[in-house]
């Protein structure tokens, strides 16, 4: 009985602290959610990268973004001022995306690459001697053959492109062409990509805890020159894995969505620089009375 009483007291205290904490953090996220979304740097010297039986680095694992690497969702992350070298056609495609195109991912259309690498969302890699498979959080995948084959002569345009992979020492190279054309968002900021894009990814696992990408985008229709993008992911905790996600299960909001990603902040991310919610916001009636 005493035990039950103390449990009740402890729960009451926890609930009170929790409510206070929630109010303090509101509207930001709780630490549990942040630690789910982002990986953590190891606190001790990382182990060497594991290797497969055929001697290559094993890229397999559940990989998470780093909170220290910003901005997320911006393919111009590594360019001065995040400024992409757009051609006039690229500028027109960007304007179209900003003003006429609803975010394809919000309509449950595959984001493809490079978009999945521009975001810091977690993903999983499964590797064997003749395939490297990327499993993405939106329940999409790409499976890269590593068997010496060349690109198809006339590939069907796809969101992930026609891809082939090979090893150069400890670097896994993925070469992709044959992408679908506009209107596709290359990143969350609605930057464009065309069907002429050629993406070259160079993946390394410098140690057991880190996975690194150096990406080169060559898209002469929309960009005046090649540009590069790099990101490092951190190994997830044991037991972490992707969960089922069905984008079109109940996509109520698709009927309410407008075009574009909204305002882009100076730091290259999307969002408003306005105060969070007032303590007591107005009621719908207040808006009616004000004629808004």
């Amino acid at each position: 009985m005493n035990s039950l009483r103390w449990s009740l007291v402890a729960l009451g205290l926890l609930a009170t602290q929790w409510a206070v904490a929630a109010e303090k953090r509101d509207p930001d996220l709780l630490p549990e959610e942040v630690s789910f979304l982002f990986g953590e740097e190891p606190t001790t010297a990382p182990e060497p990268a594991p290797r497969t039986a055929d001697g290559h680095p094993d890229l397999s694992g559940f990989w998470k973004g780093s909170r220290a690497t910003t901005p997320v969702g911006n393919i111009g992350k590594d360019l001065p001022g995040f400024k992409l070298p757009l051609t006039p056609a690229g500028q027109a495609a960007l304007q179209h995306n900003l003003t006429k195109t609803i975010d394809p991912e919000a309509l449950c259309i595959i984001g493809g690459i490079p978009r999945h690498s521009a975001s810091a969302l977690p993903f999983e890699i499964v590797q064997n001697s003749n395939r490297v498979v990327f499993l993405y959080i939106y329940t999409y995948f790409r499976s890269i053959p590593v068997d010496g084959r060349k690109h198809s002569q006339d590939p069907d345009p796809t969101f992930f492109g026609d891809k082939v992979g090979w090893w150069e020492g400890d670097t896994f190279v993925i070469d992709s062409v044959g992408f679908k054309g506009a209107p596709i968002w290359i990143d969350e900021n609605a930057n464009p990509q065309s069907d002429a894009m050629h993406a070259t990814e160079r993946w390394t696992r410098p140690d057991a805890s880190h996975l690194h990408l150096d990406l080169t985008v060559d898209d002469p229709k929309f960009y005046t020159k090649k540009f590069t993008y790099s990101r490092t992911w951190l190994l997830g905790k044991p037991g972490e894995e992707l969960k089922e996600y069905s984008c079109s299960e109940n996509n109520v909001d698709r009927a309410h969505l407008g075009p574009g990603p909204g305002p882009i902040r100076k730091d290259g991310t999307r969002g408003y620089d306005v105060p969070p919610l007032p303590a007591v916001p107005p009621s719908p009636e207040d808006y009616e009375k004000a004629g808004k």
């Binding site: 509207p27 979304l37 299960e249 969505l257 909204g262």
Partner: protein, 136 residues
Amino acid sequence: MRVYLAVLLVCMSASPTWAHHSFAAEFDGAKPVRLIGTITRIEWTNPHSYFYLDVTDSKGKVTNWACESGNPGALSRRGWKKGDIKYGDKLIVDGYLAKDGSKFIDARRVTLPDGRVVYGGSAGDGGPGDTGSNSK
């Protein structure tokens, strides 16, 4: 009680979340709103969870509002479980009106029937107060 706590902790460490679309594509950051109403429907689904409230105005007119919030995994990690709300419960929901003028809001701050206050938004959607340091 211990079982309840254990379940809670497990829920808080499970399943993914992310912004399915930017806040600005759907909601008006300049139009914060408070709804106080009774739950008529709950949809614990992807890509968002929804609940619907009957809100009665000062003249007695009842309007049904849709409230959009994060996906079930995200809400669980914040301590909001499916069983915490049920039809007929009264909720206070602070959020933002939809740009298209429909009876539809982003449920950003939700006061649950037991008094807990839960962040209901989608991580990294760029809405007011979002830090922009999230994953999308």
